[in-house]
Amino acid sequence: MARTLILVAGYPKSGTTWVRIVFEALRRGPGQGISINQMEGGYYGGRRRLLFDEVAPVNSADLLPEEVDGFLPEVFRALSERGGAPHIVKAHDCAFRTRSGEWLYPPDCVQAVIYLTRHPFDVAVSYAHHLGLSVGEAVRHMGAEETVAHSDRRLRLPLHERLGSWSGNVSSWLDVPGYDVALARYEDIFENPATSFARLIRAAGLSTSEAEIARVCEATQFERLRSEEERAGFFERPRTSPNFFRAGRPRSWTGALDDELRAELVHDHDAVMTRLGYDAEGGANAAPDLPAIA
């Protein structure tokens, strides 16, 4: 089995789209234009449904979520055997086993996992904006262990996702054996993108020049992505959200998250926040699980 999948994973609104765009641009190599709407791969959302319906014997729209999960490990194995490797796969699911006992993303076809975290205060505010919910509802979502992002009433273009709680999602990936997981905090990448991406690129087993990393970092600055979305839209934007790229800056929760909701997030996620160096004031400090930034 070819280990050719690079998972860019994390709870929603943790920077997975940004990092995936950077990885995809680096995978494509120098001389290629960078546009949020012209990224191949990703195999996330609607594109994951297309991949599924191309590969599996029956259409995902006729299957129950557990049945889709049952096919997905083999779908990812089929993807891993395709040309054009490595394949960048964006994922918000927690690491979990399907009913048959298989990991959803089979470790035997995963080259590396880039796992991203972001302070849960910022995640809550951004996630609320993303789903068209109140911030309080987003906080409840983040604390619910069984959260499955799908709809019973209609067929969404994206396939469903099993997120778990914010804490559960983080722990599932950091503590799971069998994957090579490189952890990165959104806040660190934001502060020092070139250095952070160089580390993540190495961790993923890719090689590229510093100059190319610098070019891609420049082209994928948050303001540029937001500007392109304003100009041309973004195909991954959910209908519930007026825009996908909202506020890239850390601590953007200020003014949108009251004391009570902050206390609820800390209550629900204190252990994992501490592990990642996220404090109750919304800051990101040094953390034992994180490698030092070179």
Partner: protein, 305 residues
């Protein structure tokens, strides 16, 4: 070889004929026995068991094995299906399987494989006949809204030919779309979108908010006038495909295109897409999912004026 027949084109009597309930489906409570809807001469049998592997076959996709003229696939917990020679489908149910789900995949993927084996074209399309008797195939992957817009068109008096997978053959002078369905599968929100009460409809399968919406349906095969490929976009745009590129469009809209080679049908597939492209227009229509369904229906209606 597929039987070539000269189809009866829809005539003025079709409206009356379409009101007569037709035997097009397998009641799930009864054994799956008989011809497939829209494919005369085919035979479905419910069997006690099927082999775990296809003799002489190779694994071509998850739970799918194939060799020339035979394909075996399984949906765990539901059933295993063996499709042979463009003629027969044997289905072995998993104990306690949801029979409605068994039927769903029988009329979907198993039927699609059988159409491939006949050297015909299974289009991933909902097909309808407009009031001016021109047939249009609305091609797109799942979740882009082809059944919903088909329901909107049926409310305007169009006749349904097929939902999901349309069998298209070539009779030597025109492309023929074969009627196979007199109901559409719609999710609850889509039912509401077209003014239907989902609670009054039959559920497609247990555990799923998807329902069968009975529609007026074509009683006879129809000459396919245009194949339209829908694309998701925030704007409407319609592009007529050049005749030389129509076959490629049809190939891209083929149900499980990668099964063609494994079934030994590459030459047949190239032949039939090229033939159909001679008489069937091709159009790329951008604007699916992002606009009110009636507006999309208007755009489709314009294509057959």
């Amino acid at each position: 070889m597929p039987r070539r027949i000269c189809p009866q084109l829809p005539d003025r009597r079709a409206n009356a004929i379409a009101r007569i309930p037709m035997q097009r489906d397998f009641p799930p409570a009864q054994p799956f026995e008989g011809p497939l809807p829209g494919i005369p001469g085919s035979m479905v049998r419910e069997v006690d068991a099927l082999p775990e592997h296809l003799e002489g076959g190779e694994l071509i996709a998850p739970c799918t094995e194939a060799r020339a003229n035979a394909l075996l696939f399984e949906v765990p917990g539901i059933a295993r299906y063996l499709i042979r020679d463009g003629k027969s489908i044997d289905v072995a149910l998993t104990p306690a399987a949801d029979r409605a789900a068994v039927r769903l995949f029988l009329l979907g993927s198993a039927r699609g494989a059988l159409i491939h084996q006949r050297g015909e074209l299974p289009l991933s399309a909902a097909t309808l006949v407009a009031p001016n008797w021109k047939a249009i195939a609305i091609c797109c992957p799942s979740a882009m809204g082809k059944s919903t817009v088909a329901a909107a068109l049926c409310r305007r008096g169009w006749l349904l030919v097929a939902d999901d997978i349309t069998r298209v053959s070539w009779n030597g002078s025109m492309a023929i779309a074969w009627p196979s369905s007199d109901r559409l599968k719609l999710w609850r929100d889509a039912c509401e979108m077209v003014g239907e009460n989902a609670d009054a409809l039959e559920r497609v399968r247990e555990g799923m908010e998807k329902y069968f919406l009975p529609t007026r349906a074509a009683a006879t095969p129809a000459a396919l006038h245009v194949a339209v490929r829908l694309r998701v976009a925030t704007y409407f745009d319609s592009v007529e495909i050049a005749p030389a590129e129509r076959a490629q469009l049809l190939a891209e809209c083929t149900f499980r295109r990668h099964w063609v080679d494994a079934l030994g049908r590459r030459a047949d597939h190239a032949r039939i897409t090229t033939s159909i492209a001679r008489t069937c227009r091709g159009v790329l229509l951008s604007g699916a999912r992002e606009h009110p369904i009636e507006e999309l229906a208007d755009r489709l209606a314009e294509l057959v004026r």
